[in-house]
Symmetry: C2
Subunit: 318 residues, 2 copies
């Protein structure tokens, strides 16, 4: 298109979108036929000069969702808009809200829902509405922060989700990681614990988040790992953790010995499950999100626009 046509298309767009003029009226102003105006507006759109944004905390980006589904083979992708967001916390809150929405609209409603724990899932639990489902049995799928801690987030997350669904919560009464393998194995032979783990393995749906591999990890906060241990894991290729287990960019367990001492369902069990919902959001989680999606650790991804775009860029330039 000629340079002067480009300018005209901008003038037309101003009158059309900002002044709500009809193409006819614009034609009179710019001394063009209304068809020419229509074509100019179309070209302005085609050239990407017209940007339409939906500015709302609940806004999603359907085109990005579609592209994500197509390029990754995800069953479903939920991408929240980051338009007008200033802080990462706000973005994560939006994502949690979207995850809550997704859970609520999920059909068929899962009878048992396996969940991990963390800030993100806690956020999701808070965004769910009372009565979001008619009775769901929520099962913890990995060891939690603690049973005795008053507002042990792990337990409270599960209980809240279950309570709001008028259902029940089955907690996994175990630390996330044992120091000694023997203790962990002994624990697993306990009938109660074994029962919970069996229930977890057979959950109809899984909901989990992922943590980036750095000093801010929830596992460090909770005291299960030291910053040194994390650095060691990173040095060995770890990009983050899923249900308490550290994986590299190929989705492989980074430290098998550590993995053995970790309580909860295995990565492979997650990989085989038919409905696994990952909620991952924030600038720092782009790499772990990529690892999760690329290696089929989830069938549904709930994330933010920026993370989604990062995933798509990966695909475009391999």
């Amino acid at each position: 298109m000629s340079n002067t046509d480009e300018l005209l298309s901008i003038r037309a767009a101003e009158l059309y979108y900002e002044e709500n003029q009809t193409q006819d009226e614009i034609g009179v102003i710019l001394r063009l036929t209304r068809w020419k105006v229509g074509r100019l507006l179309a070209s302005a759109k085609a050239n990407g000069f017209i940007r339409i944004e939906i500015v709302h905390p609940r806004a999603r980006r359907l085109p990005i969702e579609r592209r994500l589904r197509e390029s990754t083979g995800l069953t479903d992708a939920i991408v929240v808009s980051s338009a007008g967001v200033s802080t990462d916390a706000e973005l994560q809150s939006r994502t949690a809200q979207a995850a809550a929405d997704y859970l609520t609209s999920l059909r068929p409603i899962p009878r048992t829902l396996g969940i991990s724990w963390g800030r993100t899932l806690h956020d999701v639990s808070l965004h769910l509405k009372q009565g979001w489902a008619p009775g769901v049995n929520v099962v913890q799928i990995n060891g939690g922060v603690s049973l005795n801690q008053r507002t042990g987030t792990a337990a409270s997350t599960a209980v809240t989700i279950a309570h709001k669904a008028d259902g029940s919560a089955t907690l996994l009464p175990s630390p996330a990681i044992f120091e000694r393998l023997e203790t962990k194995q002994a624990m697993e032979t306990d009938r109660t614990v074994a029962g919970v783990l069996a229930l977890a393995r057979n959950a109809q749906a899984f909901l989990f988040s992922a943590g980036q591999a750095d000093a801010n990890s929830a596992l460090v906060d909770s005291g299960y790992l030291t910053v040194e241990q994390i650095n060691e894991l990173v040095a060995r290729g770890a990009v983050g953790d899923v249900v308490g287990r550290y994986i590299d960019q190929h989705g492989c367990i980074v430290d098998p010995e550590l993995n053995e001492r970790t309580v909860g369902i295995q990565i492979d069990q997650l990989r085989r499950a038919p409905l696994t919902i990952a909620v991952i959001s924030g600038r720092t989680k782009h790499t772990i999100a990529r690892a999760v999606v690329r290696n089929g650790l989830c069938t549904v991804l709930v994330t933010d626009e920026d993370t989604a775009n990062a995933l798509l860029q990966e695909k475009d330039t391999p």
Copy 2:
């Protein structure tokens, strides 16, 4: 509007604006009549959830221009969009381009055009296209940086504007500010200088910018004023300079003695002229822009979206 309707309006907007679905189709998806969908979309717009931006260096903001005209009594206002701009320099370039466009489209074409000098006007001169007007006599209206300096911006600005209009430039061969009043008065009695000044006073149109009152002022750069002098002026209420003369927020000369030693047309002559085009852009120039507009120093303002909004805010909360 109810909360659930608000959410629905967002869902509808996603399908309408991002997926290009028809309101009919959206109705089917959301189980609504197409009229309801139409209303939801209208409400989304009314609530400001839909943001349409024209992203182009030449894009203007017509609604803001109109509001500016209405609230300030300007004959004309040109406001360039700041969408997608990262640096102040880029914004100033856009503004200069818009000023060049405005000059080019000006009817009737002024036979004599009085101009000041500075980075901004130099920028304008560069953006003008060869043959932008059929012969214009460009006259300098205030003393310039120098005659002997190779690319003396002041002279080159005037010459460029005139040359591109196939016209002539009349330079004012004088410093901006004299140290002694007597020297300045002697200079003004010179027939050549007096002639130029008379021509300047009677110009059909004026084009000028304005400088903020701080150490970065062009008058400091050129050595006419020291940083200390500027600070003194600021202490006395100066917000910036117009054609080399420092004014306060009420448009009054801050230092009459200094003003007397300044060569060029008076502020009042500018105020009385029927067509005075001010080109002012950038974050640092909000206050001087306000002083210029509020005190009727220009009849036409060319500026950027942010500056314009700052002006409008002023008006809304007095």
